[in-house]
């Protein structure tokens, strides 16, 4: 069987292999760049400064600078500096990042007022959770109403359509002015970032419900209320669930902006702080933590969804 047949699932074995490769290939590339000295490695880590007075042991210098100084020293007959090829500080090797996954949790913050990594992470999760919950509690009902009744569609959607083009970060200063500097304005940014999209997407999903089901309901004597609660809602539930999963992913992208306003906090603050200290292994570890957290939540929700909606054809 070919690996490239249009719209045909791969055989189970190759499917697994390809799925694993999806992660293994980028990591392999990263390993190559990190561990094979002649691939990239544009800098030199000084092992012995020789006669160059501004070189220090462990210092990173550009390869051309190193070669120039080395040539100069040997021309003058002085001790030449020595070093090994290295990558820039912003690209730590895989093993360094892997260790950072552990050490970043165990390293005490530099100042007592600062948060541990797990506290930062927890704060981020809370911001996402409350922002997204608030958006869903209001956005999903509005979306369903707009998708079901033309009246609400005309009433809500034009304004929301306009509002969703206003970038959420632009409301940062306003949110701080109104809601203070702590978690509230951050939650507000997540809310603004997701709410308007959510209403429109949910409205669209609702409109896509097979109208024949509504007609079948009518001929079975369903009244307006039953149509909404016994046909529209259960009918769109699986799609609604899927929309919500996708939107939750978007909410994460607003996290970075949200956490930079007011008092910086959460995982974003951790990342900026570590970048300032040039602990790029920690930076990478933290970025990956966000990815892993997001993916895990999504996989959990997907798994849960398959159990929630047994009437959906397995695909």
């Amino acid at each position: 069987m070919s690996l490239f047949s249009v719209n045909k699932p791969l055989e189970p074995r190759s499917r697994q292999l390809v799925t694993i490769s999806s992660f293994v290939l980028p990591i392999l590339l990263w390993c190559l760049v990190s561990y094979v000295p002649f691939i990239w490695h544009p800098e030199v880590e000084i092992t012995s400064p020789g006669s160059v007075n501004y070189f220090r042991e462990g210092m990173l210098v550009n390869k051309t600078v190193f070669n120039a100084e080395s040539d100069k020293a040997s021309a003058a007959g002085k001790a030449t500096p020595e070093g090994i090829p290295a990558n820039p500080i912003y690209l730590p090797a895989p093993h360094e990042v892997l260790t950072a996954f552990y050490t970043s949790f165990t390293t005490e913050p530099k100042r007592s007022s600062e948060l541990w990594l797990h506290e930062s992470l927890w704060s981020s999760i809370q911001v996402i959770f409350y922002g997204f919950l608030l958006s869903s509690i209001i956005g999903i009902p509005l979306g369903v109403l707009a998708g079901t009744y033309d009246f609400f569609s005309r009433l809500f959607e034009p304004f929301i359509e306009f509002f969703r083009y206003l970038p959420a970060p632009a409301f940062g200063a306003l949110a701080v002015a109104v809601l203070g500097i702590y978690q509230a304005p951050k939650i507000a940014i997540i809310f603004i970032g997701t709410f308007f999209q959510q209403v429109l997407i949910v409205a669209n999903t609702t409109r896509k419900l097979d109208p024949a089901l509504l007609e079948a309901g009518q001929t079975l004597g369903a009244n307006n209320r039953s149509m909404l609660f016994r046909i529209v809602l259960p009918g769109i539930l699986p799609d609604l669930y899927r929309d919500t999963r996708i939107l939750l992913g978007w909410a994460w992208t607003y996290l970075i902006v949200a956490e930079l306003i007011g008092t910086s906090s959460g995982i974003t603050w951790f990342i900026t702080q570590q970048a300032r200290y040039k602990n790029f292994d920690n930076v990478f570890a933290a970025i990956m933590m966000i990815g892993i957290l997001g993916l895990t939540i999504d996989l959990l929700l997907a798994w849960f969804g398959r159990r929630l909606f047994p009437w959906q054809k397995a695909n």
Partner: protein, 302 residues
């Protein structure tokens, strides 16, 4: 059977004539008077139906046939109350129909079972709507499931059923509401021939035993003749009644009648009405020339 020995499709045996006389004495269930329907579309006004008049008596089985696009679905949707007539009116037991209701059950070609409900819950849907408590509705639904022979599947979801099974559930779901009229829009159109003839037999059985009037759309001539007391033949552009045929095939029907003279005569008449002798120029046809060499391995298929 040769052409010359075929009887006229209108000739009825005494028993059949007598039966039609009795049908006409039954109370009127549905009355369609001066019904017209036009649609406004971007390309102008489409007259889907024009001046349809029809009286359907209690427990009569009426089939509608006609070419594609002649307004069959539009007609049945107006009867169901899903669409409003532009002119004229529809009465059910003397009351004007203006919106959908459970006393006019509808079965669609595309099954339209609620995918999130099990077979039992699907059938319970209308019962709950009409105010039954859950226990009674469930007991009633069980009976229907037994009647349609799907007891093993009462807790299955629609996607686990075959097309024929789905359509049986849809029929039971509509009938559970004890409708006066069962409206069916090409209900067996998507089924294979074998399942379809089985479903036809089931439907006859249901119709015999339940107090219901059936209004049935099909494009299958055999199906129409086999099932109907009367066949309403529509023509397209605009959708008008071309002829109403009282089917001379005696009731109760059984599959052997497909070869009876009355059946064949009626079918011949329907074919004349639906597929009139073609005018050469407006008929579409293929423009093929020979594309296989004469000395090919298989030079001719004959």
């Amino acid at each position: 059977m040769s052409e010359s020995t075929l009887p006229d499709y209108r000739v009825q045996s005494d028993a059949v004539r007598d039966r039609f006389a009795r049908i006409k004495k039954r109370p009127v269930t549905m009355e369609v008077a001066g019904l017209s329907k036009t649609f406004q579309s971007r390309h102008g006004t489409v007259t889907a139906l024009k001046d349809i008049n029809l009286t359907i008596h209690k427990r009569e089985f009426v089939c509608v046939i006609g070419p594609s696009g002649c307004g069959k679905s539009t007609l049945i949707r107006i009867l169901a109350g899903l669409e409003q007539a532009t002119e004229g009116e529809v009465k059910l037991d003397g009351k004007v129909v203006d919106k959908p209701g459970p006393e006019r059950g509808m079965v669609f070609q595309g099954y339209t079972l609620f995918p999130w409900l099990t077979v039992k819950k699907n059938i319970m849907f209308g019962l709950i709507e009409s105010g039954y408590d859950k226990g009674t509705a469930e007991a009633e639904a069980r009976q229907w499931i037994e009647l349609i022979g799907l007891s093993r599947f009462e807790n299955s979801y629609p996607h686990q059923l075959s097309g024929g099974m789905k359509q049986r559930v849809a029929i039971a779901r509509a009938l559970a509401n004890k409708p006066k009229v069962l409206l069916m829009d090409e209900p067996f159109g998507a089924l294979d021939a074998q399942t379809r003839s089985k479903m036809q037999a089931y439907l006859m059985e249901i119709w015999k035993n339940i107090d219901v009037t059936v209004f049935f759309i099909t494009h299958d001539l055999d199906e129409a003749i086999y099932l109907a007391d009367r066949i309403l033949v529509l023509k397209a552009n605009p959708g008008e009644v071309q002829e109403v045929i009282e089917v001379a095939v005696p009731q109760p029907r059984h599959p052997e009648q497909f070869l009876s003279p009355e059946f064949i005569a009626t079918k011949k008449r329907l074919e004349e009405l639906i597929h009139p002798p073609k005018q050469d120029d407006d008929e579409d046809h293929l423009n093929l020339v020979r594309m296989v060499p004469v000395n090919d391995e298989v030079g001719s298929v004959f």
